[in-house]
Subunit: 295 residues, 2 copies
Amino acid sequence: MHKITTAEEAQAFIDRFDTFLFDCDGVLWQGKHVLDGVCETMDILRAKGKRLLFVTNNSTKSRAEYVEKFKSLGLTATEDEIFSSAYASAYYIKNLLKLPADKKVYAFGEGGLRTELEAEGIQVRGIDEDNDPINFDTLHTIKPNPEIGAVVMGFDADLTYRKYARAFTYLYHNPECTFIATNEDATYPIGGTVYPGAGALISPIITALGREPLYMGKPQQTMLDCIMLKYHLDKEKTCMVGDRINTDILFGINGGLSTLLVLTGVTTKESEAEASEIQAEYLANSLGDLYHLTK
Amino acid sequence: MHKITTAEEAQAFIDRFDTFLFDCDGVLWQGKHVLDGVCETMDILRAKGKRLLFVTNNSTKSRAEYVEKFKSLGLTATEDEIFSSAYASAYYIKNLLKLPADKKVYAFGEGGLRTELEAEGIQVRGIDEDNDPINFDTLHTIKPNPEIGAVVMGFDADLTYRKYARAFTYLYHNPECTFIATNEDATYPIGGTVYPGAGALISPIITALGREPLYMGKPQQTMLDCIMLKYHLDKEKTCMVGDRINTDILFGINGGLSTLLVLTGVTTKESEAEASEIQAEYLANSLGDLYHLTK
């Protein structure tokens, strides 16, 4: 692990790559606060003609909503630079799974997931439709539906048993129906603590089916397959920047990318980074160091 | 495995035991239809002074509601003969866990679970209280609560993310808080098909916590511990009657009871019973055979 501590090291790091993939929370910001020097580092990279891509496991927002979030924090990003697990799901279904146009997707998630699926021309059922509870007497009205070619599940704060029963029924009675999950993060960090995450909310279907989904998000490689197909990146000249060793750094290593671990999020100590079995190629105290060291 | 096919075998089987534990669905009835000869078999056993106990993993009904269900099907049972996983949870918390009176239970489940907990004098939170969804902006209002001494989870058709967030938060921030699940059945059979069961609906909390609950229901032994404490049965003279090898029969074997497998529910073929690693002591085509063979 090379620790970036001097202007020369920072410069050499920047010069080595054409493309930087950034995790967002814990790298660019923490909750609602942009981290020191991040805005300036992004300006430096853009000025040098680097491609920046923002790669997040969060499936609740559309890319347009992410652009608004960047703007509200004083950062700049375009929709084309955002790769969320919701968009990855839509991109995958359209371009890799190549779901036939007459098939529909049953989606369990937030509005951002529906937006991204529909933007790819996919017919969506589920989100906003099954928010009412259901009782034993009407459960039989949920029946197999061969029109549903894939079930996509992500974080859903409006989850209901009706939704679980539908997702399960479409998958259980049709082995051809593809089971996709946005991400496997078991907890969702918010306000300094954690709550059950997408990976937890998906587990009733895994348990009832006895079958695992295809995960889009980090550390799984499907999102990277989508990114490579869309942008045709040179892996030798691409670096994944993240704060989570088990997701971000593993994602980069497994994908054959270089990796930079920053200590502004989940991983906060150099000793933790050193003790881990998974070793990032580069280490920096913060992304902002690339600006502070070279200014 | 002794197959009961003659009057002598049926008589010897009945005479050997003082107490019969019966699974309900697939043994006494199928859906809304009582199985042939069951009513008469129950009459014979009662006339001989046998104790009958009805042991079900279903946590949605109170014992009083079960008595009504028996009555509606033309069968007789008293509340004292019913041992459901909801009642077992309440009995366990009161008599084995001995939860202090100032502690509360957060319950995720149906009304029958609340009824049984309250009947044991336990203060209940959750059921009927957290049916509204919650959004990211208000999630922080769900905070740890040291008053919650146990979280009990069962089947809940009115589940919400608010409920999951509460159950998780009480357990995650308090390792002293006991995590109890009514049963681990991953699917719930209804109307000739299956839907996600209690074991599936509990799994978000297991996944998010990385911690398993104490299961009350079959094949786990906690419900049997409760039954033994309440009725002081002689295990040598007690037989568990069921249709599911992996739950009912395993429950009986692990508990040191005799077992009778009937082929009127999940297991329908003698060849399946013979091929299983788990071998019931007795086999009969149906519970009604005890009447038909001896009449």
